[in-house]
């Protein structure tokens, strides 16, 4: 009996810890999946930034996208000017290193970011980090 209770508790614990890491329970991961059209990769870092965050906040990130030096995958949401961004980051979009949320999926999911966030898997689970 004790064994069964222990197993049940263990199962509950595992289910809980799995759900923390699963894309099904975290709106950021659900959003990423909607944009990427596939689950986010554990080996990949993702940067999500709003085109309506303050200029200094997004300037460095846009510079990194433009320089093509970063290996991160970028998602820009709340686009000020879709055509300008498409023009500016044409190659990076083709390389699938940058996704523009031109369908405003974030609005439908009520997912907004004012400060850019970095999303990555640290081996234990997915981590959301605000970028200062």
């Amino acid at each position: 009996m004790k064994k069964i209770v222990f197993l049940l508790i263990l199962q509950g614990f595992l289910a809980l810890s799995c759900s923390e890491r699963s894309s099904g329970d975290d709106i950021t991961l659900v959003y990423l999946e909607s944009i990427l059209k596939k689950p986010p990769l554990i080996s990949q870092r993702y940067i999500i930034v709003s085109d309506y965050s303050c200029l200094p906040c997004r300037e460095d990130i846009y510079q990194k996208i433009e320089d093509k030096s970063s290996e991160d995958v970028y998602i820009i949401l709340a686009l000020r000017n879709k055509a300008v961004l498409e023009d500016q980051f044409h190659d990076t979009i083709l390389e699938k290193r940058l996704y523009l949320d031109s369908l405003e999926i974030n609005k439908k999911m009520v997912f907004f970011v004012s400060q850019a966030i970095r999303v990555y898997h640290d081996g234990d689970g997915w981590v959301n980090e605000q970028i200062e």
Binding site: Y52, C54, L55, N81, A83, V84, L85, D87, F112, V113
Partner: protein, 389 residues
């Protein structure tokens, strides 16, 4: 007995309201509508825009398309794109970081690189013919705040209807103070409007807050909007949280001030401690009160127009830099200089799911023009023209 008392009380209230009710003799009437056909790179809500009375013989409206480093001018007559001024492609020193712009004429365009505290004047060959340095030789950035150390230094910003005018050899330019608007320090400076002498490079801080607003923190209400009347050589100023309008000379001495608020206006209080300390409460203070906006002198009809925006109840706190998210129902008022600045018209413009009016206005011969954006067609931008009749 009780009923009679209540009736008399209610009657008394009504009679008071009647006595206080103002009579507005005329009304605004929509008389015309301009339509711009925007190209794929021009957003209808670009942050930087300007009415240009004469661009190579045409009445125009200009937008700064950031990211492209271009200024695009559209004809008000037929809505077509007249010209793209590609300053980024043609001037290697201006390939990034430009925000505000001001077109004086085809051969003189001012461009602000805000974070460098510099404004450049370029000619039609894209040569930089003047660099206006607002940092000052003796000042430096304080590493703790990221702002210049001197209280007199300001960031040259004139977007969102703030002022930029060239009068003689002087440029009058709005500035953002080097202080966090959560605290009252900035209200003791005079950097809201400044002058810069193009001949001597001398900078003078001219306009601060009215005395009654000093020593208090105003948060998102830390702005003044101004216009200039060249015929009679005076400025008009509208502070975001002040019911009065001020008329000043070029030295910013007040010549006249008058009450200029709509029916039902309630004074905006300064920030409370909670609003200073809590971000959500701070934003709620900014969005939750009526806020005065742009002010315009109409030289054709001798009127002053003042905008007031109503509280914005449904806003997304992460999207307040989006002009559409910030857009509110608007009240437009007209005050007649020929009638001692009496209010002669007032109208309310409501936003809807179909479209919004934006506080991006200009005056021309036809009347007072207010930006209207059709939310179902972002390739067009409209200006609705109103006259007081």
């Amino acid at each position: 007995m009780k009923f009679a008392f209540i009736s008399v009380f209610i009657l008394g209230l009504f009679s008071c309201t009647e006595k206080k009710g103002e009579e507005i003799p005329t009304a605004f009437r929509e008389v015309y509508s301009y339509q711009l056909n925007l190209d794929r790179f021009t957003s209808p809500v670009e942050d930087y825009y300007q009415y240009v009375k004469n661009w190579k013989g045409q009445e125009a409206y200009a937008f700064h398309v950031m990211g492209k480093e271009e200024i695009k001018l559209y004809s008000l007559e037929n809505g077509a794109l007249i010209e793209t001024v590609s300053y980024g492609d043609n001037q290697p020193n201006l390939q990034s970081g430009i925000h505000d712009f001001y077109i004086l004429n085809e051969d003189s365009i001012f461009l602000s690189r805000r974070r460098a505290y510099k404004v450049y004047l370029i000619n039609q060959e894209f040569d930089i013919v003047k660099t206006m340095d607002f940092m000052g030789g003796n000042d430096e950035i304080d590493p703790n705040t990221g702002w210049p150390k001197s209280m007199d230094t300001f960031m040259p910003v004139w977007s969102r209807n703030r002022c930029f005018r060239k009068i003689g050899d002087q440029v009058f330019i709005a500035g953002a103070a080097n202080f966090d608007s959560r605290f009252p320090d900035g209200t003791y400076t005079k950097t809201m409007l400044n002058s810069y002498s193009l001949s001597t490079d001398e900078i003078s801080n001219l306009l601060g807050y009215p005395e009654k607003m000093q020593g208090k923190a105003w948060g998102g209400f830390d702005m003044v909007f101004s216009d200039y009347n060249p015929e009679e050589d005076f400025f008009v100023h509208s502070y975001a949280a002040d019911e009065r309008v001020y008329i000043t000379d070029k030295a910013m001495n007040v010549i006249r001030d008058f009450k200029a608020f709509p029916k039902g206006y309630k004074n905006v209080p300064p920030l409370t401690v909670k609003e200073v300390e809590n971000n959500d409460a701070y934003r709620s203070h900014w969005q939750g009160y009526q806020i005065f906006g742009s002010i315009h002198w109409d030289p054709y009809r001798k009127l002053i127009y003042r905008i007031m925006e109503e509280p914005n109840v449904n806003y997304n706190k992460d999207m307040l830099l989006d002009p559409l998210e910030r857009a509110r129902n608007m009240v437009v008022m007209a005050f007649d200089a020929k009638q001692d600045y009496r209010k002669v018209a007032e109208m309310r413009l409501k936003k809807s799911e179909k479209g919004v009016y934006l506080d991006r206005c200009f005056v021309n011969e036809k009347g007072f023009n207010i930006t209207y954006m059709d939310l179902e067609n972002e390739d067009k931008l409209y200006f609705k023209t109103f006259l007081v009749e």
